[in-house]
Amino acid sequence: MPSANAPAPKAGRIARLLCLPATLWITVLSLVPLLLVAGISFMSRDDIGTLTLPLTLESYSRLLGFGPFGFEPLYPQIFLRTAIIALATTALSLALALPLAFAIRSLPGRWRGVALTLVVVPLWTNLVVRTYAWQLLLGPDSWLAAASASLGWLQPGEGLYPSLGAVLLGMVADYLPFVTLPLYASVERLDWTLVEAAADLGAKGWRLFRHGILPQIWPGLAAGTTLTFIPSLGQFLVPDLLGGGKTLLLGNVLQQQFGTSGDWPFGSAIAVVSLLLVGIASALQRLRKRA
């Protein structure tokens, strides 16, 4: 019988055994497939579309805009659009989460928990459902579209989607809870005596916010940025349902390559590049944290 105070090496062996099955599972179904994606991104396709050798950088050069017919800015444009929309989504979500976090903080104690739960509950509703609901809310029959039409912003009978604005709205509504939670954690710990001190020294308005509050909620803002920016780079459902054909993002192009187009090397190259973007974003995040 093993003694009560089992020596450390033995405990370590048991712990390692316990970790083994799940680690193997994730390695085989997550790391190996990623290597496969990286490998396929360098392969070519023959006339009927099957993967073959030789290894080539063609997919990557196409992504940079160097197609068979010379320079085409289509893909660099999509990259840029994806980055801009991801940035805009992040900035808007942060701007909206800020008043929300402060409002929740100003509630009496027991209501704060309720309000925070209410922020999270929509996340448990499937994104497909929440996104098509925006089609109903912004469509030609909706009162929002009717109101915009009567204000002269829209042609009567037209909807507010598909449009870039609808994509942004759908993405901001999706990511708002992800930003609000970490931001609230920072706002809750805010030391108001520092804000008071700044106010006593004559800071007002923006200066008060910039020097009294912003440095204190920085960690929450940074966490919210990561939680929004990274997933919005790979988003394809919201632009698919709310953007129409005009607002193609990286995620949509990726999906096409594995659906209708069947160009796996090109799709894999997009996946590798978006992973690199994610890696860069989180590396920057880590540097920030250390600084």
Partner: protein
């Protein structure tokens, strides 16, 4: 202490809650709307729920979603619990390495994870003839993204356990298996349950990974709703979505119920 309790702040918060809840409210309202199409209905009805029950395609999607959720949750709860237990104890060589592998499915954008498993299945199929796209590949994929979450919940529960119970049992001469069966497992149980509920909710909520790894005949609820959106919505889809919203809420509430117990024990 100054606390900004300005009315405009609460007003802004109310508007933001409207932004978060408007989509949910409109779908639920439409599912009870007697006039079928258009937003301007007046009569309440349960008709769409009735026709939904007779819709074979929808019912098969419900069965598929439940089957996928149950099998992947079972697998991931087993693997994730073992992993959580292994990571909760003393550090050992290689633990940091395991921890970083554990993070891969969490930080991977879901679309990249989806296509990577799609490619794996293609490759394995080419080599062995096995791993046709369908329910089995979906179960493998879902289990992969569920494991880290189960492990995190179980690990937190294990680390927060009062060691004096186990010490007392050991002092009273309990064997290793007795100790695990009568002390560790009962104390760990709420954590395992919370992890399983979270895993099930994640599986039910997933669209992207299922979309890429499903085959003919393994359509789940989110995939069915997505393809209906493309073909034109019917009131039944609102009813189906409302059921999905309701079950997600129930799961979240059940998950929250397991937490107060944590504090007591």
């Amino acid at each position: 202490m100054i606390r900004p309790q300005k009315p405009w702040l609460l007003l802004a918060a109310a508007a933001l809650f409207a932004l978060l809840y408007a989509p949910i409210v409109v779908v639920v309202a439409q599912s009870f709307n007697g006039s079928g199409h258009g937003v301007s209905g007046t009569s309440l009805t349960l008709r769409w729920y009735g026709t939904l029950m007779q819709n074979e395609v929808a019912m098969r999607a419900v069965t598929n979603s439940l089957m996928l959720g149950a099998s992947s949750t079972l697998l991931s709860t087993l693997l994730g619990t073992l992993l959580g237990l292994g990571l909760a104890g003393q550090a050992f060589p290689g633990r940091r390495w395991i921890e970083s592998i554990l993070h891969v499915p969490v930080i991977l954008p879901d679309i990249v994870m989806a296509i990577s498993i799609l490619l794996l299945s293609h490759w394995v199929r080419k080599l062995t003839g096995l791993m046709e796209l369908g329910m089995p590949t979906m179960i493998l994929a879902h289990t992969t993204f569920q494991i880290p979450f189960v492990a995190m919940v179980v690990r937190a529960r294990r680390s927060g356990m009062d060691p004096s119970w186990e010490e007392a049992a050991r002092d009273l001469g309990a064997t290793r298996s007795q100790l695990f069966r009568h002390i560790t497992l009962p104390l760990l149980w709420p954590g395992i349950l919370a992890g399983a509920l979270l895993a099930f909710a994640l599986s039910l909520d997933d669209f992207v990974v299922s979309f890429f790894t499903s085959g003919p005949g393994s359509t789940t609820l989110p995939i069915l709703i997505h393809s209906s959106v493309r073909r034109g919505l019917t009131p039944e889809i609102h009813a189906l979505s409302t059921l999905l919203i309701g079950s997600a809420l129930l799961l979240t509430l059940a998950g929250a119920r397991t937490r107060p117990q944590n504090a007591e024990k």
